[in-house]
């Protein structure tokens, strides 16, 4: 596959699956303000997905639409990072997943604001404002709940322990990113990991949470290797279009 298409799918699939997981909290969050915030983030993420899929579909040139990409691909064809498919165990997991994603997403979008690819640059310049707001919120909650009650600290530490091994998958790169970096489509990719590490180290310290040292990094999402939750997410998300493949909605 064209490296540009692969990269856009890696990005768009990641925002879509996180948006899907985030949106599931609507009406079930611990306070009304979180219902609103999670719906809002979900909305931003779905909007970003549409933009990534538009670029992917155009570069691919096979006449597929963003909806075809979302609803008519299978587990092994989805290229999202594994982190975002991790289940909504509880609200601590949802917040931690969001924060770790944001800590990668912001430097990634900032780098893409300098992209030599016009459509990607436009996308990043639009999205980066949303992403800044997301991390301001998620960072603040990690700090307050980490340095909160004993119970909230234990919940947040538990979520961090469970999810940290998946953070590497966000930053996993291969010849796709290398090719695009050489073409100037992906500038400053090397800065993303350093920014992620600085951001998470500072925040976890303020939150009195410990980054686990020994977790074996879980990677593979970028090449279509997922965790067992992925099939269920797609089964739910794709159920109507697959039941009525000729219909328009």
């Amino acid at each position: 596959m064209d490296p540009l298409v692969t990269f856009c799918l890696r990005m768009g699939d990641t925002t879509l699956i996180l948006g899907q997981q985030t949106a599931a909290w609507c009406g079930h969050a611990p306070v009304l303000e979180e219902d609103i915030a999670f719906a809002n983030m979900g909305l931003d993420l779905i909007g970003q997905t549409q933009l990534w899929y538009e670029i992917a579909a155009e570069a691919e040139g096979k006449g597929r639409t963003p909806d075809d990409l979302a609803f008519f691909r299978t587990e092994r064809q989805f290229l999202n990072a594994q982190l975002v498919e991790r289940p909504n165990v509880d609200f601590a997991h949802a917040l931690m997943r969001q924060y770790l994603f944001d800590a990668w997403h912001l430097p990634m979008q900032e780098a893409l604001c300098e992209s030599g690819h016009e459509a990607i640059r436009d996308l990043a310049q639009k999205s980066v404002k949303e992403v800044r707001y997301h991390i301001d919120r998620s960072r603040d909650l990690i700090v307050r709940l980490g340095d909160g009650s004993e119970e909230s600290r234990a919940k947040m530490q538990g979520a961090l322990d469970a999810l940290w091994p998946y953070a590497d998958d966000l930053m996993a790169t291969d010849e796709v990113e290398e090719t695009l970096a050489a073409q100037g489509v992906l500038p400053g990719l090397d800065r993303v990991r350093a920014a992620f590490e600085a951001e998470t180290a500072a925040t976890m310290s303020r939150a009195t949470l410990e980054i686990p040292g020994n977790g074996h990094a879980r990677i593979g999402g970028r090449t279509g290797i997922h965790t067992e939750t992925m099939g269920y997410i797609l089964a739910e998300m794709q159920s109507i279009p697959r039941s009525f493949p000729d219909a328009r909605w």
């Binding site: 948006g19 899907q20 009304l32 609103i36 979900g42 549409q50 609803f71 340095d147 159920s239 219909a247």
Partner: protein, 322 residues
Amino acid sequence: MYAQLVETGAAETSEKDREFQAKIDRGVRIEANDWMPEGYRKTLIRQIGQHAHSEIVGQLPEGNWITRAPSLQRKAILLAKVQDEAGHGLYLYCAAETLGISRDEMTAQLLAGKAKYSSIFNYPTLTWADIGAVGWLVDGAAIMNQVPLQRCSYGPYSRAMIRICKEESFHQRQGFDIMRQLCQGTEDQKAMAQDALNRWWWPSLMMFGPSDKDSVHSEQSMKWGIKQNTNDELRQKFVDQTVPQAEWLGLTVPDPDLAWNEDKGGYDFGEPDWTEFYEVLKGNGPCNRDRLAARNKAWDDGAWYRDGLTAHAEKQQTIAAE
């Protein structure tokens, strides 16, 4: 969304009460710090509280389809809509708080099953077409109820309603647009749309409350300028607006008694099943238990979150004090 069967009690007849009534009759808005009769305050707390709870519980039947919305655009629109509903809940709780009750107290009443919310949300959303029908019919009926509330005598409620109504009309249009797409689609999609109309039509008519002849709470509310139109007036208006829309969509309204009445310039229509209405109101609708269980679970599961934030704020205060 809206409130139903709000008890008002009778007005007192003191000098202050008469002055208050005169103010309302002159069209002067009542504000939070103004004197008001206890009955007026309590009626508004009940009504605004119910209205807020309806927005909150209303997230559930529609939220049920967010993860399964059939296109990215539909998913985004539905998310935006449900987010709006939660936002309406927030404005309304704030409006009620100006009357001297806290959001936590109101939430406790909802979770204990003591406070009502609109019964319509005790019906299930079984197919994607239900999301269209809910937007078109339920939000359509809600708008009928809410537009007059923009002129409600209580300022904070009236101002909240002005904002809410703008968003509700977008919700109604998105619901109608889902129906339009289905009705212009495949045979399966048309059947899905008709099935949704069949199931949502009568519950939507019930949203206006019992017939005027059986509605015991309207009179005092109307005198106080909390309520502006009777249940039957609004129901008639809703039917007159909605039937031509159903015809345009090519759908059949499931009422054998429906007929245009030239003399009154509106439709004659059948009587909803009021036994069903009262059963749902009593807690025996298809989803009453599920809805309350979902809200209780969200609240109970979130206790650590709320306690954690409070603990952090207290630590910060201690640090600031030292």
